[in-house]
């Protein structure tokens, strides 16, 4: 029922409100204009009256009452004697000289009575002599006509404005409705489960496009999170099943085949190892989801990356030596960033451990910290076998383990954790080939 809906539209209501406001203002304006026009008209009429009075007075002063009567008759264009004829049209000007008994000495009043309309006169009297009084008046019909015209003109304008407002309101309302409908329909489709639906952009860069883009981005984020969640649950289901199955088999074998304490004890040790592995997977997953929730940002503090990396270097030098890798470092900046020291420690520790565990003995691993343009880049670079460029995206996925590292220990969550921590710090994780080897760079924005 679009007719009813349109009247409920905010834009239509606004247009109606504006129309009412405009009408009120117009009425006030008309009142003012009429008041001014009336005043001006009256002043003009009175000025004409005064001028007539002074002409008559001049005659009177020069040659006496007869001359005054003459002047009046000349002004009225009537013969010097005889009764005043009733004119066909009401005259605009009235002049009368009366004596004290009310006898008309000259003039067109009150004998002139016009039948076609009631008349209103504006005028005054002036005393000529002790026995004669002059009355001068003018018809206000012309003023009334002007007033009528003004009223008419304003009436049409007001009508036009009202029509325009209502029409505009309706059109605007329809346009609003169309946009709101587009967004509502998309939202309804998303609610119904079509998560890939997006609001079409009109490409005008207006406020509707901005709103649509914001909603689309929100939907993107939500569906990415959802996808992530689905990915995690399926990964969890799949990847936890494997070690759980192994654990179960081990326990079953122990129950069926074990013959002595030594067998049982070995089986239990293995089972404990499996359990620990499972638990570390769980805590890694939990940690990733906590980091991705992003609440940790509240406690960000300045962290000197150089100091942190030096600490990491000192921590890992012995273990690198023990497993036949060579660890070195090159820090070219001492800039601090805002971050979470504990998480950043884990980030670099994971990257270094990855380099230690997924490379052959004899590999050289270098920690690098450089400031470039508006960025700070911390990298862990090895000259090992590297990762195929097509796998760069996949290595940060949960539980992904390169085919060559199937046998290496670990739960495949290391780089996912790294990616999550980097994202929390507004940093990018950049994987590039190091010819040979792999360079994992964490690109932090320079603190402003």
């Amino acid at each position: 029922m679009p007719q009813i809906r349109i009247f409920k539209a905010e834009s239509f209501r606004l247009a109606a409100l504006f129309a009412v406001a405009f009408l009120t203002l117009t009425a006030a304006l008309i009142g003012t204009v009429l008041w001014i026009v009336d005043g001006t008209g009256r002043e003009a009429l009175m000025a004409a009256n005064e001028s007539d009075i002074s002409t008559v007075m001049n005659g009177l002063r020069a040659e006496g009452l007869d001359e005054a009567i003459e002047v009046v008759q000349q002004r009225l264009g009537t013969p010097a004697s005889g009764p005043t004829l009733r004119p066909r049209f009401a005259p605009e000007m009235y002049m009368v000289i009366e004596d004290t008994r009310g006898k008309v000495l000259a003039g067109n009043l009150p004998f002139v009575q016009c039948a076609d309309r009631p008349q209103r006169l504006l005028g005054r009297c002036a005393t000529l002599t002790a026995t004669a009084t002059l009355y001068v008046g003018r018809d206000t019909a012309a003023m009334d006509v002007t007033r009528q015209r003004i009223l008419h003109a304003f009436g049409w304008v007001a009508l036009g404005t009202c029509a325009f407002s209502i029409l505009g309101g309706l059109l605007l309302g329809r346009r609003f409705m169309a946009q709101v409908d587009a967004i509502t329909q998309t939202c309804e489709r998303v609610i119904a489960g079509q998560l890939n639906e997006r609001i079409p952009l009109r490409g005008r860069g207006d406020e509707w496009d901005r709103l649509a883009r914001a909603i689309n981005e929100m939907l993107d984020r939500i569906s990415a999170l959802l996808e992530n969640l689905q990915q995690v649950s399926s990964d969890v289901a799949h990847d936890l099943r494997t070690p759980l199955t192994r654990l179960r088999n081990r326990l079953e074998t122990a129950r069926e085949k074990s013959t002595g304490i030594a067998d049982y004890s070995a089986a239990i040790s293995h089972a404990l190892e499996d359990t620990d592995q499972l638990l570390s997977m769980f805590s890694a997953l939990l940690r990733i989801s906590q980091i991705e929730a992003g609440t940790r940002v509240r406690t960000f503090a300045p962290v000197a990356l150089g100091v942190l990396l030096e600490r990491m270097y000192q921590l890992f030098v012995p273990v690198a030596e023990d497993c036949g890798r060579h660890l070195s470092r090159e820090f070219k900046t001492a800039l601090a960033i805002r971050g979470d020291e504990e998480l950043l420690t884990q980030l670099f520790s994971n990257l270094i451990e990855n380099a230690l565990r997924h490379t052959p003995a004899g590999t050289k691993i270098r920690l690098e910290l450089v400031a470039a343009n508006e960025e700070i880049v911390a990298s862990v670079i090895d000259d090992g076998p590297g990762v195929a460029p097509e796998d760069y995206d996949r290595v940060t996925r949960r539980f992904y383990r390169g085919s060559s590292s199937r046998t290496a220990e670990g739960h495949g969550l290391g780089l996912s954790l790294v990616a999550a921590i980097a994202q929390l710090h507004g940093a990018r994780l950049v994987l590039t080939g190091a010819q040979p080897g792999l360079c994992v760079g964490v690109v932090f924005p320079k603190p402003s």
Partner: protein, 222 residues
């Protein structure tokens, strides 16, 4: 040694009590927070083990309330592994934080370290033939100087302060390197083996004993 255990999981409590008794501890067990607070304030214990999520009274509240009256060492034993949970727990007045599931040896080692007599801020530490000067940052063994890197010095200091007590890898990571996650490489082992080599450079018996399944112990008789 008397321990107060506040734990609402009856089965876990039972197995803990049993294992603590084997180690010669006397354990008082309560299943809820209010009883825990009553026990903790009315009687003296050497250490208190607190679950974060207790019926009656939240573990965090319990620790805050106990701290108002007593300085008994408190360790949390909890499934709350959230990133901020540890910080919040320690800020409330706890001394240590252990996340379930855990190895009993880990808990035992932490309680032993917690309940040791806190030496006043001495400038020199001794452990058998090892002598550490914390101000000059020097170490001697049998009077012979031992050159140590700063990290090795901190590692040795922690071992010496807990002489004759087993300390776990986790405890070393937390206290020496401030690392609160499990590295996948044998970081601690590598550092220990270097420290060992330096301490034993001038001959003599191995001062650092490896405790199987737990961690390490610096022997007083070295």
């Amino acid at each position: 040694m008397r321990l107060l255990l506040t734990e609402d999981d009856a089965e876990l409590a039972k197995s803990l009590i049993e294992r603590f008794r084997e180690q010669g501890y006397e354990v008082v067990h309560v299943g809820d927070g209010i009883a825990g607070l009553r026990e903790a304030t009315c009687h003296d214990f050497d250490a208190i083990i607190v679950d974060r999520m207790l019926p009656g009274m939240d573990g965090l509240e319990l620790v805050k309330a106990v701290r108002l009256r007593k300085a008994t060492p408190i360790i949390y034993l909890t499934t709350m592994s959230g990133i901020d949970d540890r910080v919040r727990g320690l800020e409330a007045g706890g001394d240590d934080y252990l996340i379930k599931p855990f190895a009993f040896e880990e808990l035992l080692a932490r309680i032993r370290v917690m309940t040791r007599r806190q030496a006043p801020g001495a400038a020199r530490l001794f452990a058998g033939s090892i002598e550490m000067d914390l101000v000059l940052r020097t170490v001697t063994r049998r009077g012979q100087p031992v050159e140590l890197l700063p990290q090795e010095f901190r590692l040795l200091e922690y071992l010496v302060r807990n002489v004759d007590r087993a300390v776990t890898r986790k405890m070393l990571l937390e206290n020496v390197w401030d690392i609160h996650f499990d590295p996948h490489t044998s970081v601690v082992e590598s550092h220990i083996s270097r420290l060992r080599a330096r301490l034993n450079a001038n001959g003599g018996s191995d001062a650092i004993q490896t405790v199987r399944g737990t961690g390490y112990r610096l022997l007083a008789a070295n």
